[in-house]
Symmetry: C2
Subunit: 170 residues, 2 copies
């Protein structure tokens, strides 16, 4: 906390963006924006028997097909019991397929079915539409800043997961 002190007085650049008031505005921005961020898929899910937890599972299974339950657990940061409840309904509803591992048959590899991919598409379309509008309004430089700050805000392991996914997808 006291380490940035020396650097701050060095140059002429003001560190006014680090005042408590600025930080509080950042906090409130996160709070309000996250509500918007989840609002659209939530609306869709309410019409079904699903919730946000189902969305998250579907998203990351789609993103990393064949992932194991344990891996998904780590990414989502919940207990296996909690995930299992969600997974069970998704599997029995035919949206997710659980395949026994070839090398290690204890593992279950998760894949979306055709129906699962369809739902994923619907949900992420809704979410991307909002994100796209926000990105377009803000412009490329703002988006770069947005990503930089968010990345710096993550926990260590979360950042690792995030980067792993990022590199996989690119």
């Amino acid at each position: 906390m006291a380490d940035g002190r020396s650097a701050s007085s060095v140059s002429g650049e003001s560190l006014l963006f680090l005042t408590d008031e600025q930080l509080r505005q950042g906090i409130e921005a996160m709070f309000f924006a996250y509500r918007g961020f989840t609002a659209d898929p939530d609306r869709i899910l309410d019409d079904m028997a699903y919730g946000r937890a189902h969305h998250r599972a579907i998203h990351f299974i789609n993103r990393a097909p064949g992932t194991t339950v344990n891996n998904l657990l780590a990414i989502l940061g919940v207990t296996k019991q909690s995930l299992n409840r969600v997974l069970r309904t998704l599997i029995s509803d035919g949206l997710v397929e659980s395949r026994v591992g070839r090398n290690d048959k204890r593992e279950r590899h998760l894949h979306l079915t055709e129906a699962g991919r369809a739902l994923e598409q619907t949900l992420s379309d809704a979410q991307r539409t909002r994100m796209r509008a926000a990105f377009r309004t803000a412009g490329p430089e703002a988006v770069a800043g947005f990503r930089t700050v968010l990345e710096a805000m993550m926990d260590q392991e979360m950042r690792a997961s995030y980067i792993r996914l990022k590199e996989t997808g690119a």
Copy 2:
């Protein structure tokens, strides 16, 4: 869906930051970052009998002292029953004070007590520490972009609340 493609060919400025892959990374960044965002206060609250809902109430009561229940309801976006449950414990634990309105005696104006302010300080210190570290790492331009994107991502009414608070605090 396919519109991010077609728009990309329009002008000389590349719209590569609007590809589905970029949007998806933005979505995942929000997901992981929000976890970090709430992690520190959550840890503190776990040791008490409180949860994230209490934190939110305390935050906004501190931010807008004397606010009415209805107003708080609108900001938090929950039902009065849900808020009341939280408020009841905070009041009976002596962290929040509910004063009958002078002009309109139906209204209750909410204030933090000394103990309430102390807890608020503890919680927001934890949250601001992380936010400050992230801001400092990212730099002022990134922070500006961060805020711009988040603001564009909010719902209409949320943005109104956000801006109202912003102007009040400044």
